[in-house]
Subunit: 459 residues, 2 copies
């Protein structure tokens, strides 16, 4: 406890030990990502720094299993590197699926009004219910689940579907085994790894142990061959799909629900793009009879109202969904929400309520329509160039086949030659190899410019 | 896969199976909380409901370890029950620590402006950096950690300290062993249980197995006897403390840092009430030399600016903090933040930036001063009634001793006789038994009315 001992330790912890150039949280360097022990000491450094203090806390071995960076930060890193190389390039981003169009006035006005009201005694509110504002929960239930037997109390409002996916993984715990569509949104797999549900990454097959990868390809219409899928606890299923843009039909979802029931599995149905459906495919898993006994649904305002930065979503956990011992899943999820979360921002929730007003619904419909027009332009462009193109009709994503080529090579080619960011299909799982995902989120002029550059590149 | 089979299942899943009256997510009934298997079937029900479908997914055994409800929802439940009993009672809430005073104009104006800007092409933004807006990170670093060697890249902006506590637990994983002050904010223990770090709850001693409870009582000045504490991986330490309102001195924190260093532990320092410190106690653990090698700090705008509903906080993970294998803790936390979170709401972040402007800082100072005056009224009230009173001078919480009595009994007495909600000390751990926490968050007239009722009750 002597002060001299403390000063000694302090000296060893010089803040120059890890300089920003060798350690940047947002853009991990290749050497750091290799996870070699004592990585930071590989950098040429004065002898004193070799004795840097280490705690005795062991790194979480599940974290060590994760491969490279999470996909989208990795893409951002490559984009930044490209900009360093070509400082004057007009880089077009059809990559990470980030919305670009302004939020309709009716929605932002409601949020601004709520913000102002927080300055007044009568308008101020502190902690809201962890599960979300009662009116918003009721509005979500009546807007998206009318006549489906989903009630206000089944709805948990959140700061977004990605965050809820992790909370669901915490709910299921480390003994759960999951299945994912292959390819699929990376957060399902990465959160499963973090929770310790998986084995090590098997580099040769590009899969983690103890995850069931349900291959979705053009050959099976992007719906897995369920007869070849082994039993798992949880099936993550996204429709309209990210990244393939495919939508599951009523018949397919009926088979999925029956498959879950036969196996005793729980489906986590990601319907974040449901409003992009134009045909008669279900917009909710709860349109399928019996789904309330086997499914959770997670969704979001991000891609409907441009709320990617505002952060608002919801998860439906029906009271009919029971663990094997009969305990309601919703009760445990409620406990997770109350302990690990404190509700979405009240201002964002006011925006959500405005989204679900008649004017808000119309305005969201217009936003969705705009991005769907973009998707059509992208589909037409690649089709005219002779590519096999999937998705884009009921989804804001276009899935383009480059047979026999590496996704990352195609990504690099399009970035290098057309200054355009896309997303390599293999980033979504081994089933995405040979594909590139092109996002329809963009200003119209950029999408048209992208179409022009692509026609130049692949003419 | 036949449709008749599905219809059969659907019938078995009648949505009336669990009616709202027998299953409400927000207010668990006592019988549900007992976790008996098949609980819902205990309710008198037609025979057909006894065959309700159950999945084969096992309930996460860690969730089953949790006792009763999370403290604050449980208090809300009792408050509601009281209001049913006394519909006309003017119930005063000095319980859950919820802010009541309006947010200063300078801050709400910035949020409203940001909301409006999202409707304009030039003002719109989608996904922000998961770690938070660069300017906000820089402002937090320069406002609260100037000259302490904490940089912008060490700051992770979040939707609140409670949420970050859970993300930190996910970071450490199920093999970590934690220590907590006893009593302490319940989220540390409950999130540890959820992550599987603990043994079962031991009812006789009111502790979970494999957690080190560091007793904090008037006898030790609410600072634990470190010589009696066994080695753990993570030490949660909150100062100014919730619930005791005590603040650790520079000398005490120097000993804590040295203790962590001697044991190789990581301190998670919760400084959510640091702005309430009037004396020369440290407002950040990083004021202690060497702390960057052993500590993480989590904090929040909730109790400074009334952001309990707006949701904004931050966590500092210094680049100097290393796991036993030399891997930087911040790199793994960054991965958690990128995978399990998507950034705090951009509108809330605009508010945070306004909080840290010169006008915002002054306005927050006024808010804090107001609540501290409340605390003084509460301290004076109980003192005048002859109680031993702790806290309230550097914290918004007053910790009142009722020797030999059960905290819940005192809670019930004050609720029943004075229509006032407090928080039973035992809800914060066995070390809180015999105490009640009184929160200074309230309108002045309510605090004065509370003082009057208390003087009536305990005269």
């Amino acid at each position: 406890m002597s002060s001299s001992a403390i000063q000694l330790s302090s000296a060893a912890a010089s803040s120059s030990f890890l300089s920003p150039s060798t350690f940047t949280t947002r853009e991990p360097s290749a050497s750091l990502r290799r996870r070699s022990p004592g990585i930071c000491l590989c950098v040429a450094s004065p002898p004193s720094e070799k004795t840097a203090y280490k705690t005795k806390v062991a790194r979480n071995e599940n974290m060590a299993k994760l491969q490279a960076g999470y996909l989208f930060p990795e893409i951002a890193r490559r984009r930044s590197a490209h900009l360093l190389k070509y400082p004057d390039a007009q880089v077009l981003s059809l990559g990470i699926g980030d919305t670009t169009e302004p939020i309709p006035d009716v929605i932002t006005s409601a949020m601004a009004k709520r913000a102002y009201a927080l300055s007044m005694v009568e308008g101020y509110s502190g902690y809201g219910a962890e599960q979300g504002d009662k009116n918003l929960r009721a509005a979500i239930a009546s807007t998206y689940y009318r006549d489906l037997g989903i009630e206000e109390t089944d709805i948990f409002v959140s700061d977004g579907a990605k965050c809820d996916i992790s909370r669901l993984q915490v709910l299921f715990g480390s003994n759960a085994k999951i299945a994912v569509q292959d390819p699929s949104y990376p957060a399902y797999v990465d959160s499963s790894v973090i929770m310790g549900q998986t084995g090590l990454y098997q580099k040769d097959i590009q899969k983690y142990g103890n995850i069931e990868y349900m291959r979705c390809t053009p050959d099976n219409g992007f719906f897995p061959d369920l007869s070849s899928i082994s039993q798992t606890d949880v099936i993550f299923f996204c429709s309209p799909n990210n990244p393939t843009g495919s939508v599951a039909s009523r018949d397919q979802l009926t088979r999925l629900v029956q498959f879950a029931k036969d196996n005793g599995s729980i489906i986590v149905y990601d319907s974040a793009y449901a409003m992009y459906i134009s045909d008669d495919s279900p917009q909710s898993i709860f349109e399928i009879p019996g789904a309330k006994e086997v499914a959770i649904e997670t969704s979001s305002f991000s891609k409907y109202a441009g709320f990617t930065g505002v952060r608002l979503g919801w998860t439906v956990v029906p009271k009919e969904l029971l663990f094997s011992d009969g305990f309601p899943v919703a009760k445990d999820f409620n406990r997770i929400v109350c302990t690990c979360f404190n509700g979405a921002s009240n201002i964002a929730q006011a925006g959500g309520l405005a989204c679900l007003s008649p004017e808000g619904l119309k305005a969201m419909g217009d936003v969705v329509k705009f991005y769907k027009e973009n998707a059509e332009i992208i589909v037409d462009t690649f089709t005219s160039l002779g590519f096999d193109v999937y998705g884009g009709r009921n989804a804001p994503y276009v899935w383009v086949h480059f047979p026999g080529r590496s996704s990352w090579d195609v990504f690099a080619e399009i970035l290098e030659k057309a200054h355009m960011v896309t997303t390599p299909g293999s980033g979504f799982g081994p089933g995405g190899e040979g594909f590139v995902r092109v996002s329809a989120f963009g200003h119209r002029e950029n999408v048209l410019e992208a179409a022009k550059r692509l026609k130049q590149l692949y003419k």
